[in-house]
């Protein structure tokens, strides 16, 4: 009996000893794995580098894209840039607008007609052109795949999360269309 108790006690002590560093590693490891993102499948919201905004709530982001909010805190008029087609556009329509393409076009036209939308979003042909547009327009906001982002634009956190963070909402969940990319 004592042998069994000693054996069990020994195993408990050894297990606890081994478990401790493993747990510590486990605490460190998730932060690494959490930051492992696929830059092809993550959409970054980008603004002009001079825009003081660093973070937007998802609700604020939606209001901006819907045209319900039209000015930044620095007074600049918000200029929305949309890509002409591709999985990025479909993802934005689905997650932010919560519409399909036809509903989006109808809502946009209706908003213009009613006066709710002062100016329509600018539609651009490629991520490169969109990036240049955001670079040049002080009030611009747009979206890019994370891999298309460079230092000429500023990435905005959404609900406090950057595109590299776990839980970031703007993920492309469809096969990538290479036509829409560079």
């Amino acid at each position: 009996m004592r042998v069994w108790l000693r054996t069990v006690g020994f195993l408990v002590v050894v297990g606890a000893t081994l478990a401790l560093p493993r747990e510590q590693r486990a605490q460190a490891a998730p932060s690494l794995s959490e930051r492992r993102v696929n830059p092809d499948h993550t959409l970054a919201i980008v603004v002009n580098r001079k825009n003081p905004i660093d973070n937007l709530s998802f609700n604020e982001l939606r209001k901006i894209f819907l045209g319900e909010r039209n000015h930044w805190s620095n007074g600049h008029r918000i200029a929305i840039a949309m890509l002409d087609y591709g999985p990025e556009r479909r993802t934005v329509l689905r997650l932010i607008y919560r519409m399909d393409e036809a509903s989006y076009q109808d809502a946009l036209l209706r908003g213009m007609f009613r006066g709710d939308v002062f100016v329509a979003p600018k539609t651009l042909a490629s991520p490169t052109i969109l990036r240049k547009f955001v670079f040049n327009a002080p009030g611009a906001i747009g979206y890019l795949r994370l891999r298309d982002v460079n230092e000429t634009v500023k990435v905005v956190r959404i609900d406090g999360l950057s595109p590299e963070d776990k839980g970031y909402r703007l993920q492309i969940d469809e096969p990538l269309d290479t036509k829409g990319s560079e």
Binding site: Q105, M112, V119
Partner: protein
Amino acid sequence: MSATWCWEVQRRWMLANLGLALTLSVVFLLAPGALYSQQSETTVSVDARKMQELFDRIDELEASQKQLRERVAQLEKAQSVAQAVPAGSASGAAGSSSAPGGLQIAESSSKADAPKAEPPPTGQAEQSGGTGEPEHMDVSHTALNIRGFGDFGFYGGNQKGQTSSFSLGQTNLFITSTLSERVRFLTEMVFEVHQDNAFQTDLERVLLEGSLSDYLKVSGGRYHTAIGYYNTAYHHSTWFQTATERPYIFEYEDEGGILPIHMVGVQASGQIPSGKLGLHYVAEVGNGRTSNPVAEPVQNYVDENGHKAFNVAFFARPDAVPGLQTGFSVYRDVLSAPASPRITETITDVYAVLTRPRFEWLNEALMIRHTPAGGHDYVTPAFYTQISNRFGSYRPYLRYQYINASSNEPIFPQVGLRTGPSVGLRFDATESVALKLQYDYTFLRRTGPIDGKSCVQLSMCAPSAVAMQVDFKF
């Protein structure tokens, strides 16, 4: 024997070719020298004055090239700033944007006209125009964005004297132009036909709008009075509305309507800081409507009296209930009807609507109060409710309307009591064409045309009426 003969032939042939090759080599080697000698002789013949002229000419060409380079740099810089300005203004509805596919005139920018070269990240302020980018109107960057709407249909009813008719509706050119980051122009040019079968052209809306912030947008011109919900949610197009016609109380003035649908004046609107409640306001001052029944209903140029009509409206779009909008408005004016004392007009409206991509429920009630000087009040209550739901391309709908005006009402004595349901179906055949079929049953205390207008296309005019309508946008 033959082998020796063959070898001898080959040797002679090689010697002959070698000689030819040597001869040609000498010629090629000596020829440039000869040519060089000729050139040297020519150069020697040029005098110093000629040389100086050539040098001067070279200097001129270099100066010209330098000027061209500077000019190109200026143009590139101007292009960069010009692109930043419309960009700042969202490039407009007008712009190359996608404004839902409108026709653009005088468009200079296109999807492909993004900046030619992406500048380095440093020095951005200089290249992007900084924070104070100029607001200017450049002919080459001002675009008209045009969308069109139209409808026609077949209408019939059992009103005495009414004939069934194919009828053209309004053909509407909706035009916007972004003049700068904060200013745009908007107009609705409508071609319509009335009872005399003659075409008439109206500028139903002409607005210059300035968006100063989310909390203040100012507009001036001719606009739809912000009485309640329907009048500003649906303008001169049947495309956006579910039913074939507007609710009776929101019919246009020139088609027998009883409200001041249009106003010429100025308007301020915007959000009220209210967080998730989503409060908004609208304040308007304008000419109001005429009280002369034979005159143009909208006082576009001259007001018949010095008193200005004003209207204030508040509404909420709470975040908690997407699609919900509820609000109220109060309109006040003084009418100077011929052979009648001045009449104070007060129109109070309250509404709650829920509009989502599939589901729609509109509820609106208003009270029109006319108070002649020294007389008693005439109060006309009215309301409508409309509910619909979309099933694929089909949207069945039901509307009920009510209005009850006194027989002695000083402004619209012909209206009386009108109430009843409408039932219909909208079928969106394509993204740009919709078919509507509607049946109206109306209880009328008195029958007959409204203000002498035909019953064609008018709701609540005949006891029983059918409408088939084709709507389209282009």
